[in-house]
Symmetry: C2
Subunit: 103 residues, 2 copies
DNA sequence: TTTGGTAGTCATAAAAAACTGACTTATTGC
DNA sequence: GCAATAAGTCAGTTTTTTATGACTACCAAA
Protein backbone atom coordinates (compact mmCIF):
# COMPACT_ATOMS: atom_id res chain seq x y z
CA UNK A 1 0.00 0.00 0.00
CA UNK A 2 2.88 2.35 -0.48
CA UNK A 3 1.19 5.16 -2.29
CA UNK A 4 3.58 7.10 -4.41
CA UNK A 5 2.56 10.41 -2.95
CA UNK A 6 2.22 10.62 0.72
CA UNK A 7 0.93 13.75 2.29
CA UNK A 8 3.20 12.88 5.16
CA UNK A 9 3.66 16.52 6.04
CA UNK A 10 7.34 16.36 6.67
CA UNK A 11 7.44 19.68 8.38
CA UNK A 12 10.99 20.35 9.30
CA UNK A 13 10.30 24.05 9.76
CA UNK A 14 8.70 24.90 13.11
CA UNK A 15 7.17 28.14 11.89
CA UNK A 16 5.39 26.38 9.09
CA UNK A 17 2.58 25.00 11.22
CA UNK A 18 1.82 28.45 12.55
CA UNK A 19 1.92 30.00 9.12
CA UNK A 20 -0.37 27.30 7.84
CA UNK A 21 -2.95 28.16 10.47
CA UNK A 22 -3.35 31.55 8.87
CA UNK A 23 -2.74 30.62 5.27
CA UNK A 24 -5.21 30.76 2.43
CA UNK A 25 -7.49 33.32 0.94
CA UNK A 26 -9.79 33.98 3.89
CA UNK A 27 -8.22 32.97 7.17
CA UNK A 28 -6.10 36.09 7.68
CA UNK A 29 -9.05 38.42 7.38
CA UNK A 30 -11.30 36.21 9.48
CA UNK A 31 -8.66 36.11 12.17
CA UNK A 32 -8.25 39.88 12.06
CA UNK A 33 -11.99 40.39 12.41
CA UNK A 34 -12.03 37.92 15.28
CA UNK A 35 -9.55 40.10 17.16
CA UNK A 36 -12.19 42.85 17.09
CA UNK A 37 -14.95 40.75 18.60
CA UNK A 38 -17.16 37.69 18.22
CA UNK A 39 -17.99 36.58 14.70
CA UNK A 40 -21.19 35.34 13.20
CA UNK A 41 -21.42 33.36 10.01
CA UNK A 42 -23.97 35.57 8.32
CA UNK A 43 -22.08 38.75 9.21
CA UNK A 44 -18.89 37.38 7.78
CA UNK A 45 -20.67 36.48 4.60
CA UNK A 46 -21.86 40.06 4.29
CA UNK A 47 -18.70 41.79 5.46
CA UNK A 48 -15.96 39.76 3.87
CA UNK A 49 -16.08 40.98 0.30
CA UNK A 50 -16.00 38.29 -2.32
CA UNK A 51 -16.37 35.41 0.07
CA UNK A 52 -18.84 32.56 -0.08
CA UNK A 53 -20.49 30.13 2.34
CA UNK A 54 -18.42 27.12 1.47
CA UNK A 55 -15.06 28.84 1.73
CA UNK A 56 -15.95 30.58 4.97
CA UNK A 57 -17.21 27.31 6.36
CA UNK A 58 -13.95 25.59 5.51
CA UNK A 59 -11.85 28.45 6.84
CA UNK A 60 -13.77 28.62 10.11
CA UNK A 61 -13.46 24.90 10.54
CA UNK A 62 -9.72 25.04 10.01
CA UNK A 63 -9.31 27.93 12.42
CA UNK A 64 -11.33 25.93 14.91
CA UNK A 65 -9.22 22.82 14.40
CA UNK A 66 -6.11 24.92 14.83
CA UNK A 67 -7.59 25.99 18.15
CA UNK A 68 -7.48 29.66 17.27
CA UNK A 69 -11.27 30.04 17.28
CA UNK A 70 -13.98 28.37 19.31
CA UNK A 71 -17.63 27.96 18.48
CA UNK A 72 -20.23 29.04 21.01
CA UNK A 73 -23.96 28.49 20.72
CA UNK A 74 -25.85 31.53 21.89
CA UNK A 75 -29.35 30.66 23.13
CA UNK A 76 -30.96 34.04 22.65
CA UNK A 77 -33.55 35.91 20.66
CA UNK A 78 -32.63 34.37 17.35
CA UNK A 79 -30.55 31.40 18.35
CA UNK A 80 -27.17 31.70 16.71
CA UNK A 81 -23.52 30.85 16.84
CA UNK A 82 -20.51 32.92 17.75
CA UNK A 83 -16.90 32.31 16.93
CA UNK A 84 -14.49 33.67 19.53
CA UNK A 85 -10.73 33.74 19.79
CA UNK A 86 -9.32 31.08 22.09
CA UNK A 87 -6.51 31.87 24.51
CA UNK A 88 -4.29 30.29 21.93
CA UNK A 89 -5.67 32.63 19.33
CA UNK A 90 -5.18 35.65 21.55
CA UNK A 91 -1.53 34.76 21.99
CA UNK A 92 -1.09 35.24 18.27
CA UNK A 93 -2.39 38.79 18.28
CA UNK A 94 0.96 40.49 19.00
CA UNK A 95 2.61 38.65 16.13
CA UNK A 96 -0.28 39.47 13.86
CA UNK A 97 -0.03 43.13 14.78
CA UNK A 98 3.66 43.11 14.03
CA UNK A 99 2.90 41.68 10.61
CA UNK A 100 0.36 44.41 10.02
CA UNK A 101 2.77 47.11 11.08
CA UNK A 102 5.33 45.92 8.54
CA UNK A 103 2.77 45.87 5.74
CA UNK B 1 -14.75 42.13 -20.58
CA UNK B 2 -16.02 41.52 -17.12
CA UNK B 3 -14.60 38.13 -16.45
CA UNK B 4 -16.64 36.24 -13.97
CA UNK B 5 -13.68 35.44 -11.82
CA UNK B 6 -11.27 38.17 -11.22
CA UNK B 7 -8.10 37.52 -9.35
CA UNK B 8 -8.40 41.08 -8.26
CA UNK B 9 -6.65 40.35 -5.01
CA UNK B 10 -8.94 42.36 -2.85
CA UNK B 11 -6.67 42.28 0.11
CA UNK B 12 -8.42 44.10 2.86
CA UNK B 13 -6.23 42.49 5.47
CA UNK B 14 -2.83 44.14 5.85
CA UNK B 15 -1.17 41.08 7.31
CA UNK B 16 -2.20 38.97 4.37
CA UNK B 17 0.51 40.24 2.04
CA UNK B 18 3.17 39.38 4.57
CA UNK B 19 1.71 35.98 5.24
CA UNK B 20 1.55 35.33 1.53
CA UNK B 21 5.26 36.02 1.20
CA UNK B 22 5.93 33.00 3.36
CA UNK B 23 3.04 30.82 2.30
CA UNK B 24 3.24 27.54 0.48
CA UNK B 25 5.01 24.29 0.93
CA UNK B 26 8.62 25.42 0.65
CA UNK B 27 9.01 29.11 1.35
CA UNK B 28 9.00 28.89 5.16
CA UNK B 29 11.84 26.40 5.22
CA UNK B 30 13.81 28.22 2.54
CA UNK B 31 13.45 31.43 4.50
CA UNK B 32 14.55 29.75 7.70
CA UNK B 33 17.64 28.34 5.99
CA UNK B 34 18.36 31.76 4.54
CA UNK B 35 18.55 33.19 8.05
CA UNK B 36 21.47 30.83 8.68
CA UNK B 37 23.49 31.92 5.68
CA UNK B 38 23.64 32.20 1.89
CA UNK B 39 21.74 29.61 -0.10
CA UNK B 40 22.67 27.75 -3.23
CA UNK B 41 20.20 26.05 -5.51
CA UNK B 42 21.92 22.70 -5.55
CA UNK B 43 22.34 22.65 -1.77
CA UNK B 44 18.68 23.39 -1.24
CA UNK B 45 17.76 20.58 -3.57
CA UNK B 46 19.84 18.23 -1.48
CA UNK B 47 18.95 19.57 1.95
CA UNK B 48 15.26 20.31 1.65
CA UNK B 49 13.79 16.86 1.92
CA UNK B 50 11.15 16.03 -0.67
CA UNK B 51 11.66 19.13 -2.73
CA UNK B 52 12.22 19.40 -6.46
CA UNK B 53 13.84 21.80 -8.90
CA UNK B 54 10.67 23.33 -10.23
CA UNK B 55 9.10 24.03 -6.87
CA UNK B 56 12.30 25.46 -5.43
CA UNK B 57 12.73 27.60 -8.49
CA UNK B 58 9.26 29.03 -8.14
CA UNK B 59 9.63 29.56 -4.41
CA UNK B 60 12.96 31.32 -4.78
CA UNK B 61 11.53 33.54 -7.49
CA UNK B 62 8.62 34.49 -5.28
CA UNK B 63 10.86 35.23 -2.33
CA UNK B 64 12.96 37.35 -4.62
CA UNK B 65 9.94 39.22 -5.96
CA UNK B 66 8.78 39.79 -2.41
CA UNK B 67 12.20 41.33 -1.81
CA UNK B 68 13.04 38.96 1.00
CA UNK B 69 15.89 37.31 -0.89
CA UNK B 70 18.34 38.62 -3.42
CA UNK B 71 20.30 36.77 -6.02
CA UNK B 72 24.04 37.27 -6.24
CA UNK B 73 26.34 35.85 -8.89
CA UNK B 74 29.54 34.61 -7.36
CA UNK B 75 32.45 34.65 -9.81
CA UNK B 76 34.61 32.07 -8.16
CA UNK B 77 36.08 28.62 -8.64
CA UNK B 78 32.90 27.08 -9.89
CA UNK B 79 30.83 30.07 -10.84
CA UNK B 80 27.56 29.92 -8.96
CA UNK B 81 24.68 31.83 -7.49
CA UNK B 82 23.89 32.76 -3.94
CA UNK B 83 20.59 33.79 -2.43
CA UNK B 84 20.92 36.16 0.51
CA UNK B 85 18.42 37.80 2.81
CA UNK B 86 17.71 41.40 1.94
CA UNK B 87 17.41 44.06 4.65
CA UNK B 88 13.71 43.61 4.23
CA UNK B 89 14.12 39.91 4.79
CA UNK B 90 16.22 40.45 7.88
CA UNK B 91 13.52 42.64 9.37
CA UNK B 92 11.22 39.61 9.32
CA UNK B 93 13.56 37.46 11.38
CA UNK B 94 12.23 38.54 14.81
CA UNK B 95 8.68 37.77 13.77
CA UNK B 96 9.73 34.46 12.32
CA UNK B 97 11.51 33.57 15.54
CA UNK B 98 8.42 34.41 17.52
CA UNK B 99 6.42 32.08 15.30
CA UNK B 100 8.94 29.34 15.89
CA UNK B 101 8.89 29.87 19.63
CA UNK B 102 5.12 29.39 19.70
CA UNK B 103 5.34 26.17 17.70
C1' DT C 1 -48.19 24.01 9.58
C1' DT C 2 -46.20 27.37 6.91
C1' DT C 3 -42.82 31.11 6.89
C1' DG C 4 -38.48 33.28 8.06
C1' DG C 5 -33.97 33.59 10.07
C1' DT C 6 -29.48 31.37 10.95
C1' DA C 7 -26.04 28.18 9.83
C1' DG C 8 -24.58 25.42 7.43
C1' DT C 9 -23.66 20.66 3.81
C1' DC C 10 -23.21 18.41 -0.70
C1' DA C 11 -21.85 17.49 -5.42
C1' DT C 12 -19.62 19.44 -8.84
C1' DA C 13 -16.59 22.63 -11.40
C1' DA C 14 -12.87 25.75 -11.95
C1' DA C 15 -8.53 27.66 -10.62
C1' DA C 16 -4.14 27.53 -8.34
C1' DA C 17 -0.17 25.09 -6.55
C1' DA C 18 2.96 21.38 -6.73
C1' DC C 19 5.31 17.37 -9.13
C1' DT C 20 7.88 14.82 -12.90
C1' DG C 21 11.20 14.03 -16.35
C1' DA C 22 13.26 15.79 -20.37
C1' DC C 23 15.57 19.63 -22.08
C1' DT C 24 18.43 24.34 -22.01
C1' DT C 25 22.02 27.77 -20.95
C1' DA C 26 26.37 29.35 -19.23
C1' DT C 27 30.96 28.74 -17.76
C1' DT C 28 35.20 26.17 -16.92
C1' DG C 29 38.78 22.62 -17.60
C1' DC C 30 40.93 19.40 -20.69
C1' DG D 1 35.70 20.93 -29.62
C1' DC D 2 33.87 17.94 -25.66
C1' DA D 3 32.56 16.86 -21.13
C1' DA D 4 31.33 18.36 -16.45
C1' DT D 5 29.17 21.40 -13.05
C1' DA D 6 25.65 24.68 -11.69
C1' DA D 7 21.31 26.60 -12.28
C1' DG D 8 17.75 26.48 -14.04
C1' DT D 9 13.19 26.16 -17.87
C1' DC D 10 9.37 23.75 -20.20
C1' DA D 11 5.29 20.85 -21.18
C1' DG D 12 2.27 17.93 -19.25
C1' DT D 13 0.03 15.79 -15.17
C1' DT D 14 -1.62 15.38 -10.54
C1' DT D 15 -3.14 17.30 -6.18
C1' DT D 16 -5.05 20.85 -3.44
C1' DT D 17 -7.72 24.87 -2.80
C1' DT D 18 -11.50 27.75 -3.83
C1' DA D 19 -16.12 28.75 -5.94
C1' DT D 20 -21.16 27.87 -7.30
C1' DG D 21 -25.73 26.72 -6.75
C1' DA D 22 -28.97 23.57 -4.86
C1' DC D 23 -30.32 21.56 -0.84
C1' DT D 24 -30.73 20.46 4.49
C1' DA D 25 -31.47 21.15 9.59
C1' DC D 26 -32.87 23.72 13.52
C1' DC D 27 -35.68 26.80 16.06
C1' DA D 28 -39.39 30.38 16.70
C1' DA D 29 -43.33 33.07 15.64
C1' DA D 30 -47.82 33.47 13.24
Amino acid sequence: MTTKKMSAENETCPAQALLKMLSGKWKPEIFRLATKGPLRFSSLLREVAGSNKQSLSVALKELEEAKLLQKVIIREKPLHIEYNLTENGKSLIPIFEQLESLG
